[in-house]
Each structure stands twice: as C-alpha cells, then as structure tokens.
Symmetry: D2
Subunit: 138 residues, 4 copies
Amino acid sequence: MADLVRTGVSLERELLKRFDKVIGRKGYQNRSKAIRDIIRELIVEEDTDENKIVAGTLTMVYDHHRPNLADKLIEAQHHAGSKVLAATHVHLSHDYCLEVVIMKGRSEDLRRLGDQILSLRGVKHGRLVITTTGKNLK
Amino acid sequence: MADLVRTGVSLERELLKRFDKVIGRKGYQNRSKAIRDIIRELIVEEDTDENKIVAGTLTMVYDHHRPNLADKLIEAQHHAGSKVLAATHVHLSHDYCLEVVIMKGRSEDLRRLGDQILSLRGVKHGRLVITTTGKNLK
Amino acid sequence: MADLVRTGVSLERELLKRFDKVIGRKGYQNRSKAIRDIIRELIVEEDTDENKIVAGTLTMVYDHHRPNLADKLIEAQHHAGSKVLAATHVHLSHDYCLEVVIMKGRSEDLRRLGDQILSLRGVKHGRLVITTTGKNLK
Amino acid sequence: MADLVRTGVSLERELLKRFDKVIGRKGYQNRSKAIRDIIRELIVEEDTDENKIVAGTLTMVYDHHRPNLADKLIEAQHHAGSKVLAATHVHLSHDYCLEVVIMKGRSEDLRRLGDQILSLRGVKHGRLVITTTGKNLK
C-alpha cells in the first residue's frame, strides 16, 4: 500500500454525476477507492495468462428477427468446437432472446470467440465473464 | 463532449502497471479513455431504476462437495419464484461446477438474489450480468 | 384383470426377432406382457386432456449445416411464446447438435409445437417427453 | 415387407379402448400398424450395442423440498464424469422442478445413470431419451 501513485481521467460532467450516484448507492466514501476497485476488477478479468485454461460464460441479448443470425451464432459456436460446453436460450419478448454460452478453454480463445459473437449484427448487448477452475479461484 | 471535468485516483504503482498492460493489449492509446470506458460500463450496469424490469445472468463456480450447498442454491432460486427463468449446470472438474442462472425481473430483486447466492459458503466466484430488454438496449 | 381381450399385430419376422431380443434383455418372460406395457406407456403419454397444463421436453438432434434451420427453430420457439421456458444446446460433433426445449402449457399445444419442429428438414431424430406437474404426477 | 408374421397380446378391455382412442387421434387406420410402430420405436431406443456411443437426455420432475435430493442429483451427475454434458433446470411450481440432463457416452452407461437418478426418492417422473449421433441417425 505504501507505494501509491496518482493518475487522472477527464470525463463529461454528466457522466461523473451519474458515477457518483452509483458509487454512493454502493456505499463508497470516495471516488478514488471506487475507481481503484473497478480497475482491479478489470485486471482480474483481463490479466490472465493467455494459455491458462479458464471457464467462462458469454451472455448476449439479440434480435431473433435478424435474418441468419441464429445460423451464424450456431456456426461460430460449432467452429469453436469443444470449447463450447453448452448454450441456454430463453425468449425474453416477442423480439428478443437471451442466450448464455458456457465455455472452457484457453483464456485467449474464449475472448476471441466472445469478441466474434458480440460483433455480429443484431447482437444488442453482451458480456463475457471469465472465471477460473480449481485452486486458482479467488 | 464540451463540458469535461477531471478527477483523479490514487493507486498502487504495481496495480497501475498491470492496468497499463491490460489496456495496451486492448488497444487503448491512453489511460483516461480506458478509465472513462470502465466508468461508463459500471454505470450501464448499475444505474438502473430499481423497479425497471431487466434480464440478467448470474455465473458462479462452486464446490459441489460442500454439504447442502446444492440444496441451498435450489432453495434460493425457488424462493425467488418466477424471476428465475432457467439455470444450466456443467461439471468443470471432479470438484467444481459452473452454474448460470438466467433471470428476469426488477433490477433490485435480481441484485438481491445475486448477492444472496454469491454469499453462500462454497461458492467460489460469481458475477452478475445485468442487461436490459427491448428498446433500451444499447 | 378379469376382463381380458386379445388383439394381434402383423410385423416383419426380422422386427419381431429384434423385439424379442430387446424384451429378453429387459427381463420380460413373454411378449404379451411387453406389448401391454408399451401400450400402457403410450396411453400415459398421449391420453391426457388436451387442455391440461403439463410440462415437457423436446429432444432433437439436427444437422447445423442445413441452411436456415437454426433460424426456423428459433422462430418456431418464439412463435410458441411463453410455452417455451428454455432451450439448451450442445455440440455433439462437427455436424450434429443436440437441443432440448423445455416447455409448459396445454398438452395439445406442446404436442403441436413438437410435431412442427420435428417435421423441419434437417432434424434427424426427436422425441417429446410429456410429464405432469403437481399432484397428478405418478 | 414380404415375410410377415403375426403375434398377439392379451389386455384389459378398458386399456384397449383407451389405446384405440389414442391411436385414432394420432390418425392410425388400424391397430396393427400402431402396435408395429411402437414396437419399432422401442427397438430404436433399446436395441443399441451397449458399447455404442450415443447421446441422450434424461428428463425428470422432482420435489425440491425433499432434503438432500439436490445434493444427491449433483453427486450422481459428477460421479458420472464426462458423460454428463450439461443439465438445465426450471422451476415449475412452488414444489416441483424439472431438470433435463444431457449426456453422451456408452449406451449402457447412460441407461445406468438414468436408472440410478430415477430411483432417488423425491424424483416423481422421469424419462430417458436415447438418440444416436452421426450417420446412424434415422
């Protein structure tokens, strides 16, 4: 804790106001601690050895009326082969589906598959959650 | 974009170094833009009206040898009633399971269920992903 | 048991031979009892009031290379609306997927959705399992 | 088709009446064809080499209030190891859950796991569907 450094960020006043509201609700006393925590969280999520075997889920919401999108999603998952363990799909509304893909494999491969799927047109929102298996869990 | 303000964060030198490495790999040119993006992402995730109907997934990894944990997970999900749409389970290893719970309901209720499940002993890692449905998607 | 009647069936000799082998392995002493049991099972599965609310699963194996099949499967499920609770998909091989659709609704509607999906070209094998909820379970 | 043989079955008059009703609704013109079809279906399901690799699903409905049942279900699935690909769970009512376990492995092993799970107290109804993969599909 001794060796602290300081860095800064410029952002829209409106964004900062909403950020303060969110972190206040979460019980933070000051902004610095809150930013430090989300930086740390990003690192936990991203700073894994690319060759490490991890488990992960990819949550996405998509418009099932978009032609060929379901075909492309299946295709991308099949192409990824044994990295995709299962996918579960629910129908949220007349237009939207939510699908969660469960994966296991090299961290690098899971990220690539995530990026590939989330970039498909018609996929509205998506989020990759990486976790680890066995004793490295924390 | 006009009305920019500046704020700062103090953090361990080591943490900042790892952060720079991660954002470099993600293609960021500077720290300010990266911090702004994760702040924005937090807001999208957190700054929802508590009564708004959202969809979400809860990813968790747990030790299935922990006595009664499976019973408690089922119990918590049943107690949440119609907010839980489905849960999919895969077996990661001799000891660990990964389970994803798909939910829809008031944002506040999903967060509460997430917190409750993640606080159970034996649940090693968990992450709630909140998304929205319909035209508020972005 | 008193009021027994007798009915018959004509079938290929080869089919009968395989049937005898299967029921022998299952421990049946005679054909009549085995046929009676599968007739009874069919009735349990089929002879439900069309308006009764039941739960069911539809298991299917399909060739994911068939163009537009994934789109049609999603479309059929969405069209069925709230009757489809969730669907889980695994990748069996380079060519084949297995998907299980979990449903709840009027027995008649579940059967119709099952028939509709199983008749799509590229769906190789499928089976609807109907079960009941609550105290009618047996 | 040439080499037809005839066999018979004795059954309760009431059962036969219900059978006729069911097959009538399914569009059968005569009983013999209907019995032949369910015999054929049984053979497709059962007459697999015990060592053949097949895919299957196990659908079950259970009372989640039964103590330790969820633990036992997880335990049985983990013990089966890589034969269990995924399991999806929905909450049918205050008391009952429906779970579908997706499996791949030796036909014999899948049947054994199915029998073991369906014999647990609190599991109300269950059904194993065996299908095959690749070119043996019909």
